[in-house]
């Protein structure tokens, strides 16, 4: 803050009024008495008194001054609103909630705006199948994302303020696992009644998301995948220890059962011409993803043993053999792909694996939990080094010379690394560059009139995901560049919206704005000292590091049903306007005048007791400020609304009363809602 915008100009002056002397004093004295009498006479005769004339006038309080502290709703009486809108109206709903400050931070923090709050609500209510389907409507692969998502929702989670965030991602996985039991009865072929058809190139997450949206709207979709199995980068790039293949293919199978026409092993370009698709289908969506790794053009980069990350991962994932057995591996890069490469290399028998990151320890772009798991497994992380030269001997890599990196970003935050003088040589046999990926669209667009820029990327409108050719759309990493899986899915939904409008003959551009992936600020973690175990996040059980590195077995073992229920019940239902009995108001109250009790039985979750002891309340309002759900609220001037204090303790019924107007005295028929309540659909 620029404190010294203006100089202090405070000068001192005297207030001492010297006494007159002699006759002047006599005159001044009597004069001051007359002045005083004149002043009082003027006040007495002029103007209206400042007080109230009884009984003709009464003190009238502005309605704004009357908002008593009250609850807008409680769980057990009120339902949590679920975000079940269809894809093309979903963004409008989100924007509306956001501007009304009613958007839960987890939903707002998610690129695809997955309703994590609703998921938690349903899981805590033991309605996992509904939770799964709720998540699937915005996140086409909940089981997959439940294992690999970088969980921006958890970073945004309001519970970070208090103790630890909700384990949203493990709950996705839990919902998926329970869904397997009812999958047969709940997955049906969708009625694809529309006569227009869509082709999607690529079966990655963004393509699948778009396909689901289009099929939900009734359009038949044909999907072309060049690999033998679908999944795109999830299949070729994500190692199986993070994502078991049966999960991925199980969920894609669900889509096929819904009516997706999936054609694997068909590469658009060589096998089927793009023109053919454009002629045959009413719309074509390019969701081809990124295929090639960037390799720095430094001396020795063409030596044997220098590899690109994507190629390395493809080999590792498809064949479980990448030629690194008993070799020393150096991975250049600090991102998540680099970490994946390093961990795969370990599993494929490398003797030593080193991650060489340009960024310093605090700036490493990979997610901290992934780095931590890699370090547990024995990967060595070397920070602040930049590649200088691949040391070769007879065309074979023997090491890597790296130069110390002083800073990566300049003052404006742009990528502009500054290097120091010190150089280090790391001996190794294989160097894997994981410093970025690029699209390989040559075959796809060859000969067509789809515009491609100088660097080989598609020219795409970032808000509408249209290409230069009408009826051809693009989404996923081919548009955004390397990014997160859930971010790709979000673009799939956007592209599907554009395609739907295109197919219906509506204006694609109408009301569309670029929706960048929101960046929610990172909260400083709340302290965990003194936080009871019951309030802590459920930890994810992990396979022991020395056991899991021998093969591609899953690292995360998953939660039990009970753990999931407890974890889902921790969710605060932010901004829902429904009290869940989280007790943070009671914990914040400096006078300990709030008492909250709740029951967490699935199907009968309820705030059984909410009492405000007015005899202790000091009206500071900290409780309402603290309330994560915005349930407890007042108008800021609520002390005045307490002018009838006949009820020393307000119970739940009184707290749920409408805050408008003056509080009546006595009970006057206000009843507490019964508790616990049964679920509305009759199940228990």
């Amino acid at each position: 803050m620029a404190l010294a915008r203006r100089r202090v100009s405070a000068t001192a002056y005297s207030v001492t009024d010297p006494e007159p002397r002699g006759a002047a004093a006599f005159v001044a004295a009597w004069g001051s008495l007359l002045t005083g009498l004149g002043l009082t006479a003027r006040r007495a005769t002029g103007g209206k008194p400042a007080t109230v004339r009884y009984p003709y006038e009464r003190v009238v309080l502005s309605p704004r001054w009357r908002g008593a502290l009250h609850l807008r709703g409680t769980i057990g009486r009120d339902e949590i609103p679920l975000l079940t809108e269809s894809s093309d109206s979903y963004n409008g709903v989100i924007d509306g909630l956001y501007s009304a400050r009613r958007l839960a931070p987890c939903t707002g923090g998610c690129p695809a705006n997955v309703d994590a709050r609703g998921q938690n609500y349903l899981i805590a209510d033991d309605r996992s199948a509904e939770a799964y389907e709720l998540v699937r409507s915005r996140n086409i692969l909940p089981g997959v994302l439940g294992r690999i998502c970088h969980r921006p929702c958890e970073s945004a989670c309001r519970r970070n303020y208090y103790d630890e965030p909700i384990a949203v991602r493990p709950l996705h996985r839990h919902a998926y696992e329970l869904y397997q039991a009812v999958r047969e009865e709940r997955v049906h072929a969708l009625p694809l009644a529309q006569d227009k058809r869509v082709a999607i190139v690529g079966s990655g997450p963004s393509g699948l998301a778009a396909a689901f949206d289009l099929m939900t709207a009734g359009y038949p979709v044909t999907m072309y995948e060049k690999n033998e199995k679908p999944g795109g980068a999830l299949y070729t790039g994500v190692p199986a220890y993070r994502l078991p293949r049966e999960v991925l293919h199980g969920e894609i199978d669900d889509l096929v059962r819904m009516g997706l026409d999936l054609r694997c092993g068909v590469e658009v370009g060589p096998d089927v011409a793009m023109e053919h698709l454009m002629g045959k289908y009413d719309a074509v969506l390019i969701a081809a993803g990124l295929q090639v790794s960037r390799i720095l053009a430094i001396p020795g980069a063409d030596a044997a043993g220098v590899r690109g990350a994507l190629e390395f991962l493809r080999e590792a994932n498809l064949h479980h053999e990448a030629g690194v057995r008993d070799k020393r591996v150096l991975v250049v890069g600090g991102g998540n792909v680099a970490v994946d490469v390093a961990r795969c290399a370990l599993r494929l028998g490398a003797t030593a694996v080193r991650l060489a990151s340009l960024e310093n320890t605090d700036e490493v772009p990979a997610h901290p939990w992934e780095v931590e798991e890699a370090l547990d497994e024995g990967v060595v992380l070397t920070c602040s080094v930049g590649p200088e030269e691949v040391v070769e001997s007879g065309g074979v890599v023997t090491g890597m010379r790296m130069r110390e990196c002083l800073s990566v970003f300049d003052e404006t935050g742009r990528f502009s690394p500054k290097f120091g003088e010190r150089e280090t040589e790391f001996p190794c046999d294989v160097v894997v560059f994981a410093i970025g990926q690029g699209a390989q669209l040559g075959g796809l667009v060859a000969g067509g009139d789809i515009e491609v820029d100088g660097r080989g990327n598609l020219v795409v409108n970032g808000a509408m995901f249209t290409t230069s050719h009408a009826g051809v759309f693009a989404c996923g990493e081919v548009v955004t560049g390397p990014g997160s899986c859930i971010g790709s899915i979000a673009t799939g939904h956007e592209a599907a919206t554009s395609i739907l409008r295109h197919l219906r003959g509506e204006s694609i551009a109408d009301g569309r704005i670029a929706r960048p992936v929101p960046v929610y600020e990172r909260y400083e973690k709340a302290t965990l000292a003194g936080v009871e175990t019951a309030r802590r996040r459920i930890g994810m059980p992990m396979a022991p590091a020395d056991e899991r590195i021998i093969d591609f077995r899953p690292v995360e073992l998953g939660l039990t049903s009970l753990e999931s229920l407890v974890e889902a019940a921790r969710c605060l239902r932010c901004q829902s306007g429904v009290c869940v009995g989280c007790e943070f108001c009671a914990r914040t109250c400096p006078d300990y005048c709030i008492r909250v009790e709740r029951t967490d039985d699935p199907g009968a979750r309820c705030v059984t007791r909410y009492e405000l002891d007015l005899t202790k309340c000091c009206f500071c309002g900290l409780c309402a400020e603290q309330c994560p759900t915005n349930t407890l609220e007042h108008t800021g001037q609520y002390e005045l609304s307490f002018y009838h204090r006949d009820l020393a303790v307000w119970d739940k019924g009184e707290m749920l009363r409408d805050a408008g107007g003056t509080r009546a005295t006595g009970r006057d028929g206000i009843e507490s809602p019964a508790c616990p309540t049964r679920r509305k659909d009759g199940r228990s």
Partner: protein
Amino acid sequence: MSGAAGLAWGVAGGLGAGSAIALAALFGVWWERKVSARIQMRFGPQQAGPFGLLQTLADTVKLVLKEDILPSRADPGPFLRAPLVVFVPIAVSLLAVPLSAGWAPLDTSVGALFFLAVPSVSVLGVLVGGWASGNTYATIGGLRGAAQMVSYEVPRTLSVLSMVVLAGSMRPVGMMAAWRWWWLPLTAVAFVVYIVSSIAEMNRGPFDIPEAESELVAGYFADYSGIRWAIFMMSEYGAILAASLFGAAVFLGGSHGVPGVAGFAILLTEAIAIVTLVMWVKWTFPRFRSDQLMALAWKVLTPMALVQLAVVGLVAAWL
């Protein structure tokens, strides 16, 4: 007058004066509350009766019903009797005030002297009441009150003396009858001295140091409650009434020769004006300190009154 008739007259006069003071207090408290309220941007009493007129009556009922507390350290004899010692002289002095042209309840040739001298006895009540309370605040208040009331006798008497010299009589009825309009500018200083020293005599602000609530809580009557406290209050309003009526009669010409009820009404109007002035002063000014109060009496008011007396003496000789 024979003994029996005198006794009957005395009883009747005493009752009459007492009732008059009670009425004056009823009205005076209400009026004071209204005046102070307007100065302080308030409405004052407005619930009991029209314009809150019955507020004082309600307060009186409350005061009469309150417990009459005798502090354990108090000396019961003087403590219980002191309020009457304050009240009775003031009530008696009221009898000497002319109420209409040619009529005063007690019409004597030394009426002015009677009016000035008799209330001085209430100093004893203040002193005794303060002392007998056995309370430091009350003792200090009583001592302050005694010093103040004795001191202010001097300028007050001197200011009335100017009028006596002008009128050539000490009979209030005669002074009222002799009043001429040009006396007003001539005796303005005497009138001011009379008003100021009368306020000091009746322990009202800005001269209320014997009962200064911010210093001595309530001064000499700090330990009184209920009806005895009410008697102290009534004495104060009785003193206001007496001083205002006498001032109106002597300095402002009273009923201006109009006899009967009409004359009384004129007198009363003038008296109410003086009462209002007294209240206005109280609600405008801060309180004096005791040494400043003495300095005012002896260094300002007494010389002023003496100069006035000299001027009046010259004029009287020239008449």
